[in-house]
Symmetry: C2
Subunit: 138 residues, 2 copies
DNA sequence: GATAACCCCGTATCTCAGTACAGAGTCAAG
DNA sequence: CTTGACTCTGTACTGAGATACGGGGTTATC
């Protein structure tokens, strides 16, 4: 397998080249080996890692949370901590899925209503999504 | 039903008072009636609306997207547009759910592995989440 | 009717997640 | 062996989403 320069990795992963360097500084991607000249040589797996970061971001995770997820995936922290953190994240994810499903149901309902009538009078989306069971500002 | 001042609404909804004013400027919440003094008088439903905004944000929606969702919910745009937008959003949500479920499966797997061994050697999280079927930079 | 605790508006500042840029070095194609 | 496209580092700037602040008016309580 060939290695990639920073620019090649950026192109492959569909991000700006500066983003790569930013993620490295941030600690989201491990520092890759360098040539004598200082040029980085990224193994191609880094492409996947960038994709993962971007995906997780779109799901509402912050870079800080993502770095924790990646630390778990990389097997860095002690096993006990991994477990605890992973269990928390599973719950968090379940909550997210739950609300996304609600949102989806409401939208589908709106679509159905829209099929016949020409005006949606009362809005069900907010009520159905706003009961507060879980505080998000933990 | 009593109305709420800006500060009361902020407390009830669990956000900073400035956030309320910001959301109003942004157009996420309709301008409420005012007293002669200029004080805003929010109907209590605004609490739900703020909750909804915060929840949607945690799910990875931007304020712009949220304002569109709310416009749909409020029944503002023409019915055709509502339908189209709602259908797009349903797809978007399905994609999100899909990836969250993958993430969850991987974490659960890690937890299980963690139960016996004391070191996770190889990381499955990235591979399982990074295949690219959908571009996120539409 | 004073005083603390609120609200108003406008503007400035902050954090997060990048992006851009300048000045210098490196690589590879002709 | 030069030229153009790349890379490096460090620092500055940007945009989204808030938060803070200053100077002033309002309201409830004592």
């Amino acid at each position: 397998m060939k290695t990639l320069t920073t620019g090649q990795l950026a192109r492959e992963a569909g991000v700006n080249i500066e983003t790569i360097r930013y993620y490295e500084r941030y600690g989201l991607i491990p520092e890759p080996p360098r040539r004598a000249s200082g040029y980085r040589e990224f193994p191609p797996e880094y492409i996947e890692r960038i994709h993962f970061i971007k995906r997780a971001q779109a799901l509402g995770f912050t870079l800080k949370e993502i770095s924790e997820l990646l630390a778990v995936a990389d097997g860095n922290p002690a096993c006990k901590d991994i477990r605890k953190f992973a269990e928390e994240k599973v719950k968090d994810i379940e909550t997210r899925i739950h609300y996304l499903q609600k949102m989806k149901a409401v939208l589908k309902d709106l679509i159905k209503k829209c099929l016949g009538k020409r005006k949606i009078s009362e809005c069900p989306i907010i009520e159905s999504l706003s009961q507060k069971r879980n505080r998000h500002k933990e």
